[in-house]
């Protein structure tokens, strides 16, 4: 991925030298043509076309902001409710992610989900211990985390 971005930048600069115009506009034109060439030759590289990964990162940021908003609303509801009928508890969440940054990212995202909080990570990085505000639907929480966050992070790192 880094090689493709570097190549695209070099191609943009080559385009500027060919045109002998050093304005930002010609840089963007060169960057666009470089992107086009890299897209046509995308099977030439060992990793996939890097723009897809950029899209995945943008998608992850979108999910992050949405969950941040929803979690604050959920906590607000719980605080303002006159009777506190929640059942807190800790459940184990088995993760398939391997890299350190992926696990860190997942843990931070879970912490920002409505009503869940990562307490600890097992020594072999396979299980996250999550504290839930309402433990009664732990299975459902695991499934929803798996389907949204873990999938989105895998989409970035694949």
């Amino acid at each position: 991925m880094a090689f493709q971005i570097l190549l695209n930048f070099i191609l943009a600069f080559v385009w500027m030298f060919l045109k002998t115009s050093y304005s930002p506009a010609s840089f963007f034109v060169g960057y666009f043509f470089g992107l086009l060439i890299i897209y046509i030759f995308r099977r030439f590289f060992t990793s996939r076309f890097y723009l897809l990964r950029v899209v995945a990162v943008v998608n992850l940021i979108y999910i992050f902001s949405k969950e941040l908003l929803l979690s604050n609303i959920a906590v607000l509801k719980a605080v303002l409710r006159p009777k506190l009928n929640i059942k807190p508890g800790i459940f184990a969440f088995p993760t398939e992610l391997k890299e350190d940054w992926e696990i860190t990212m997942l843990a931070n995202l879970i912490t920002l989900t409505p009503g869940t909080l990562v307490v600890d990570v097992s020594p072999d990085n396979r299980i996250l211990y999550v504290h839930a505000m309402d433990i009664s639907d732990a299975d459902e929480a695991i499934q929803s985390i798996k389907n949204t966050f873990e999938k989105a992070i895998m989409e970035v790192s694949r």
Binding site: L7, L11, L18, A25, V29, I37, F41, R43
Partner: protein
Amino acid sequence: MKTNDVILQTVTKFTLFVIILFSIHLFFAGHYYPGGGFIGGLMTSGAIVLLLLAFDIKTVKMILPFDYIKVVAVGLLIAIGTGAGALFFNMPFLTHAYTYVYLPLLGKTSLHTAVLFDTGVFLVVIGVTMTIIQTIGESE
């Protein structure tokens, strides 16, 4: 004897893109400077020939899964289409039109239908060259 082409392949991985970018530069230079569809297409197919020299025919087919005869057909259709387009405006065949447009980022740009015709030439040249070379390369 099987030789190790690692140097050729590594240099190709970078040079290829610079050559194709230069051919795009030549293609768009065609109106005011030396260049145009023919030399641009020929240089693009030159880059693909470099790829063929560094790797084998199967790898190149995997990287660029195009049927080059269809590329020729598409190029000819584009060229005829731009020519026939003039007929809809009560003009003789192959009359071209141009206009100045203010594009974001690019500023004042002249858009000329001759570029579309040149695109057809570009595709036909690539298609014909690659068909010739691949047909010769495949026959034992």
